[in-house]
């Protein structure tokens, strides 16, 4: 099992976490939604895996490139 971090592509605030710890995701699935520039920008996972933990809470501010969750393959 290998862990990897999912990073936010944009700065903004976490609007909604739409997945749960333990949930299996496929490449292209939305992990959470960040509000940025008045838009709901999905954080999309590029490779599938299981959500191990979130590194941010809803409404937290995030920076571009910041790790927001850990997934395992």
């Amino acid at each position: 099992m290998a862990n990897y971090e999912v990073k936010a592509e944009v700065s903004g605030s976490v609007w909604k976490i739409v997945t749960e710890v333990g949930q299996a995701l496929e490449a292209g699935d939305t992990l959470m939604i960040i509000e940025s520039m008045k838009m709901e920008i999905p954080v999309i996972v590029e490779q599938g895996g299981t959500v191990q933990r979130f590194l941010v809470d809803e409404s937290a501010a995030v920076n571009e490139g910041q790790a927001v969750a850990v997934l395992s393959t």
Partner: protein, 532 residues
């Protein structure tokens, strides 16, 4: 004694001995830096320069120039061997069209510079002269670190910067397509030439590019850093945009070079090659009717949208991993090459940040230079805002993008998909031509988006209201009703509003019609003024 001379029985009656020497010299040239050096090079996962040329160009098309250059070793008058000059170059064909191609031979002194009577490659070398003189594309296969301080020993003096300068490299950028592939570690002059190109590419795991490598960095700044962290693709391509694209292997690199050149004319006096498209120009994809969500806060996949509009399988994306708020692709429409500039709502809602601005500047200039019509698919809320954006000089680079867009003279088609706001929106129209702006029913525009604008313009009224948030919403709704694109179309402030499904046939028709203008305006583009 008669006047007749007796033939020397041992003397040859033809030039075979010299041809034999020629073969010996050619054999040494093909041996590169020797079997051991070549094996080490292969172990590092890299091809030799001769293999690179062979993999890149049309089979059997390479005609080498300067094969015999190098350092001969003699036993008295007899040649023993030749150490070749560490640069291989010549004339070749890609897809049947001539190209000038050359690159450093890393197996000989790491591809460092060589001092003959005339330079083969590098700044001002024969290969650049050939590209300029014959007006054919230049492909630089870069695998060298340029000069070395040891040259001072050889010459007895140091060289003034620019004696072997970039003037020819700069001239080429306005005349013929120049492609640079970084296929090893490039520093100094070769790194500079990688940048002086219309399109550049590097290979994951084996290539690095920087002004100076780790030893110089450690000596200058005390920083210990690996080559990968200093100038590997994650830094040079994804983060900095120093190099345009990254690929996973040298073979993919050569395939991409061939692909890039397939969109380019051989020079600025010609138009890009037209292909026979099997994709009907009147194709109307249903998906376009629903691709933009009615909820303005929800983004959509702009890459998919582009795919519905251009010829099938014709997309080649430039800088896909840098400046992701903007998408720049070369593509074809009804067989004609176009450059598509599209805002990406998935990243900062498509706002133009400093990276997107730089990306747009280079792409628009390149398309303008090679007479490639531009299609702007606009969904831009404006320049990126915030402290980080201001600190990065988004305003300055953003205005440079606007400036370059307003100087372009190539036919340009503006298709407003959703938002077109502010100064960033101004750089998407053809001010030197027809200024044809078409819009989808989902389009909206103005000097700034209503949401932010209402809060600023009606600040006191909102603050004085019993329910400030409610009053702000009411004001937004009132203004939004007036902001319908149909009202602007009534005033001919936008030339047409179209069913999104009809975007492809509409554009194909106008791009076909612009070929006459394109044919009669070829040649170098004049540059004037001072970029802000």
């Amino acid at each position: 004694m008669s006047g007749k001379t007796t033939p020397d029985e041992t003397a040859p009656d033809d030039w075979s001995p010299e041809v034999e020497e020629l073969r010996l010299r050619q054999r040494d040239a093909h041996g590169l830096g020797g079997a051991e050096a070549v094996a080490r090079h292969h172990e590092r996962g890299r091809l030799t320069i001769r293999e690179r040329v062979e993999h890149l160009v049309d089979k059997g098309s390479f005609r080498e120039v300067g094969t015999l250059t190098g350092q001969g070793k003699y036993d008295g008058p007899t040649l023993k061997s030749v150490t070749p000059a560490p640069y291989v170059m010549g004339l070749a064909s890609i897809d049947g069209r001539p190209v000038a191609v050359g690159g450093e031979d890393f197996t000989i002194r790491g591809g460092s510079s060589w001092s003959g009577d005339r330079k083969k490659g590098g700044q001002g070398g024969f290969i650049e002269d050939m590209a300029a003189s014959y007006r054919i594309p230049l492909v630089n296969l870069i695998d060298g670190s340029g000069g070395s301080v040891t040259s001072i020993n050889k010459r007895g003096h140091s060289i003034f910067p620019g004696v072997h300068g970039f003037e020819r490299s700069v001239e080429l950028l306005g005349k013929v397509p120049v492609v640079s592939a970084v296929l090893g570690t490039a520093a100094g002059g070769p790194a500079g030439r990688a940048i002086l190109s219309h399109w550049s590419v590097m290979v994951d795991g084996t290539s690095h590019v920087f002004a100076a490598g780790p030893p110089v960095v450690e000596r200058s700044l005390g920083q210990k850093i690996s080559k990968e962290d200093l100038g590997g693709p994650p830094i040079a391509v994804d983060h900095a945009g120093t190099i345009d694209n990254r690929v996973d292997s040298e073979d993919t690199c050569f395939a991409q070079i061939r692909r890039f050149l397939s969109y380019m004319p051989s020079n600025v006096w010609e138009l890009p090659p037209e292909s026979n498209s099997s994709d009907p120009a009147d194709r109307c994809d249903e998906e376009l009717l629903r691709i933009v969500p009615r909820d303005r806060r929800k983004p959509y996949n702009m890459r998919k949208l582009i795919g519905h509009i251009v010829d099938r399988d014709s997309i080649f994306e430039i800088q896909p991993t840098y400046g992701k708020a903007l998408i720049t692709v070369l593509a074809r429409m009804n067989g004609k090459v176009v450059g598509v500039v599209a805002n990406n709502p998935m990243v900062y809602g498509g706002a133009m940040d400093v990276k997107a601005a730089r990306k747009q500047i280079h792409f628009v200039e390149m398309c303008d230079c090679f007479h490639i019509p531009l299609v702007f698919l606009v969904d831009v809320p404006g320049f990126m805002v915030g402290k980080d954006a201001e600190a990065a000089a988004t305003l300055r680079d953003g205005m440079r993008a606007v400036y370059v867009g307003l100087q372009a003279t190539v036919p340009t088609y503006t298709v407003v998909i959703r938002k077109c706001y502010g100064m960033a929106g101004m750089g998407t129209t053809e001010k030197n031509g027809l200024e044809l702006k078409i819009a989808w029913p989902s389009a909206e525009w103005g000097s700034l988006p209503i949401e932010g604008g209402v809060a600023a313009a009606f600040r006191r009224e909102i603050a004085a209201a019993a329910d400030a948030r409610q009053r702000e919403r009411e004001l937004e709704e009132e203004l939004r009703a007036l902001a319908s694109p149909f009202r602007t179309a009534e005033a001919f402030g936008v030339e047409e509003i179209i069913d999104p499904r009809e975007t492809r046939p509409y554009l194909c028709r106008f791009i076909d019609a612009a070929q006459g203008k394109l044919r009669t305006t070829v040649g170098p583009k004049a540059k004037y003024g001072v970029r802000p």
